[in-house]
C-alpha cells in the first residue's frame, strides 16, 4: 500500500513544492479554506479521531476544540523536538516530506483561527532541516502561507524556531517556555495551553506526525480514515514505527494501526527482518526509554494505542527498541536512567533528586558494590517519584527501573551481594 505519511518513499523529490502540488499537495488546505468553516474542520478531525502521535495519544480535534472562539491572538505550535531515545520519525518527515507538515499545521491554524504557526525543532536538526526551511520559503512564494492565503482572506505566518539541546522541551508546556526564551521547564497546570499558552494566548501544540495525518483526512474524509484500521476503532490511521536496537533492518516503518503485531514488525522480512545472528529476543522497549519493558509474551499484541495494555505497557510514540538475549537488563536500565538524570530539568524535587539517586544506585550495583537492599532501594525511590512529579519525565524515568526489576529479577540478583 502507498504510504500516507512517508510519501517521499513512493514519490521522489516530494520535498519540492511543484512535485508536492502535482501529487495532490495543499488540496487539503485549499478545501478547508474554501469549503469549510473553521468549526467544521475541528468537527472533521474529531470525527476522524486523529490521536496525538507524540506519545500521549490525545485526540487532536478535541485539543483544537478547547481553544476559545473569542477573537484575539492564538497560536499553533508544532512539536518537532523529537528527542526520545529510539525515536526518529519526525526527522524523516521534516527532511523528506516537509510540505505535508506545513499543510497540516496551516489547516490547524485555520481551524482555531491562529495568526501564526511556530515550528519548534530541536537544535540538533538545524543543518538537516535546510529542505524544511526551503519548503517554508516556497510556500510563502506560492501564497500558501503569509497574508491572504490563496486569496481567501486568511492570514497566517509560519516561523521556524530551534531549541538548543534539552529533551524536556518535548513536553508541551516546557516547549512553550523555551519558545518564549526561558529555561525549558514545565509549567504548573491548569491553565492548560488551550487557555494560556504561548505569550499567554490560547495555543494548540501538536506533534509533527500528528499534523501529517490532517491533510489526507481533509481531502478523503473521516470515513476513509476510520476505515483504514478495520477492527481497532480506538486507533485509527497510519503510524510510523521506529525500529532500533537488535534487528537486521532498523528504520522507520509506516503501518496501519491494528494490522501489524510487534512480532511481525520485528521479524517479518519487509520490516525488521529478525534479530541478527539468529539470537533470541530478551525484551522490547516499545516506547523508547519512557515506557515499561515487555517480553516475548507481547509479540502477538497489535501495534495500537491499547495493544500493550494487557502487558502493562504503552505504544507511546512507537519507538521500538529491540534487545536480544545477550543484553544485561541492569545495564539497559542504567543507560536509560542516565538519560533521564541528565535530562531532568531540575524544577521539581521528586524528579531532580529521584533521577540523581537512581543513577547513583545503578552505578553502585553495576560496579559490583550493590546489595539486595539496593534493588529494594531502587524500587522505593521509583515508587516515591510516581505520581509526584510536575510532568511526565519523572514518571517515565521510573518505568524502565520498575519493569526491569519485575521482569528480569535474575539479572539484578547476579549483580548484587546478599548484604
Amino acid at each position: 500500500m502507498a504510504h500516507i505519511l512517508l510519501r517521499h518513499r513512493d514519490i521522489p523529490d516530494i520535498h519540492q513544492l511543484d512535485v508536492y502540488l502535482a501529487n495532490g499537495g495543499y488540496e487539503g488546505l485549499k478545501k478547508a479554506l474554501t469549503e469549510y468553516q473553521p468549526d467544521q474542520v475541528i468537527d472533521l478531525v474529531k470525527k476522524a479521531n486523529i490521536k496525538g502521535r507524540g506519545g500521549a495519544g490525545f485526540p487532536a480535534g478535541v485539543k483544537w476544540g478547547f481553544i476559545p472562539k473569542a477573537p484575539g491572538p492564538k497560536y499553533v505550535v508544532v512539536n518537532g523536538d523529537e528527542s526520545e531515545e529510539g525515536t526518529f520519525k519526525d526527522r524523516e518527515l521534516m527532511e523528506y516530506n516537509p510540505h505535508q507538515i506545513i499543510e497540516g499545521a496551516l489547516i490547524a491554524a485555520y481551524a482555531i483561527q491562529a495568526q501564526a504557526v511556530y515550528i519548534y525543532f530541536r537544535g540538533e536538526f538545524m543543518v538537516a532541516s535546510a529542505p524544511f526551511e526551503q519548503a517554508v520559503r516556497d510556500a510563502y512564494g506560492a501564497n500558501l502561507a503569509g497574508r491572504n492565503i490563496l486569496g481567501t482572506g486568511f492570514n497566517c505566518e509560519f516561523y521556524v524556531h530551534y531549541g538548543a539541546g534539552a529533551y524536556i522541551c518535548g513536553e508541551e508546556s516546557a516547549l512553550l517556555e523555551s519558545l518564549e526564551g526561558k529555561l525549558g521547564q514545565p509549567r504548573l497546570r491548569p491553565p492548560f495551553p488551550a487557555q494560556k499558552g504561548l505569550y499567554q494566548a490560547p495555543t494548540v501544540v501538536n506533534n509533527v506526525e500528528t499534523l501529517c495525518n490532517v491533510p489526507p483526512v481533509v481531502v478523503y474524509g473521516a470515513d476513509w480514515y476510520l476505515g483504514l484500521s478495520k477492527d481497532t476503532p480506538d486507533s485509527p490511521g497510519p503510524k510510523i514505527c521506529c525500529l532500533s536496537g537488535h534487528v537486521n533492518r532498523p528504520g522507520n516503518y509506516e503501518i496501519i494501526m491494528g494490522e501489524t503485531t510487534y512480532g511481525q514488525l520485528i521479524n517479518a522480512p519487509e520490516y525488521g527482518g529478525g534479530i541478527p545472528g539468529g539470537k533470541a529476543l530478551k525484551a522490547i522497549l516499545p516506547s523508547g526509554g519512557s515506557g515499561p519493558v515487555v517480553t516475548a509474551a507481547a509479540l502477538d499484541a497489535p501495534v495500537t494505542f491499547s495493544g500493550l495494555t494487557p502487558f502493562n505497557s504503552i505504544m507511546g510514540s512507537a519507538s521500538i527498541i529491540v534487545l536480544d538475549e545477550t543484553v544485561d537488563m541492569v545495564w539497559a536500565a542504567m543507560k536509560i536512567t542516565h538519560f533521564f538524570a541528565h535530562e531532568s530539568c531540575g524544577k521539581c524535587t521528586p524528579c531532580r533528586e529521584g533521577t540523581y539517586w537512581l543513577k547513583q544506585i545503578f552505578h553502585r550495583i553495576w560496579e559490583g558494590h550493590g546489595t539486595e537492599a539496593d534493588v529494594k532501594l531502587l524500587e522505593a525511590v521509583a515508587n516515591q517519584m510516581t505520581g509526584k512529579c510536575l510532568c511526565a519525565l519523572g514518571e517515565f524515568a521510573t518505568s524502565p527501573v520498575l519493569s526491569t526489576i519485575k521482569h528480569f529479577p535474575e539479572d539484578y540478583r547476579k549483580r548484587v551481594r546478599k548484604t
Binding site: 543543518v127 518564549e180 526564551g181 536496537g245 522497549l285
Partner: protein, 161 residues
Amino acid sequence: MFADKYAEQIQTILARYPDKRSAALPVMYLAQKEFGYMSEEAIAEVAAVLDLEATYIRSLAGFYSLFYEEPVGKYVLEICDDLPCALRGAEQFVEMACRKLNVPMGGTTADGLFTVKTVMCLAACDKAPMLQVNLKYEENLDEAKFEELIARLRQEAMGEA
C-alpha cells in the same frame, strides 16, 4: 561589534516574535558562531542586544546543552551513546574515537581541531554508530569511515587556513 556585524540577522530574528526574549536562543547561536563558545564577552553582547541581564543569558547557556561554556575545537564531534546506539556498538565507537584522536572524553585535540563529546539521543538510532560534526549528521560509521571523516575534516581545515 557583534550587534553591528549581525544587525541584519538580528533584526530578522526579532521580527518573528512579539516578545524580544524569544530571540534569546537564536541570537545566542549567532554569538556562539562569532565567539566560538559562550564566553563572558558573548554573553554580554547577547544580553545587550536583547535588554536582558547577563546572568539570565548565562543560565540559558548552562541549561541548553548545545551552548558551550568552555572553548571547543573547530569541529565538535558529538557522538550518541544512548541505549539504542549502544546496542549497535556506540560505546566501543566512542573509545575508538578518543583513542584515534588521542583525547579524553570531552577533550580537544592539541591542534584545536577536534572536540569529542558524548551526547543524548540524536534521533538517528537506526543508523548507529553515528555522530554530528557541528550538527551535520554522519551515520552508519565504523573505524574506517571515522578515519576517512577525520582526514576529510583535516584537509578542509588546511584548505581554509
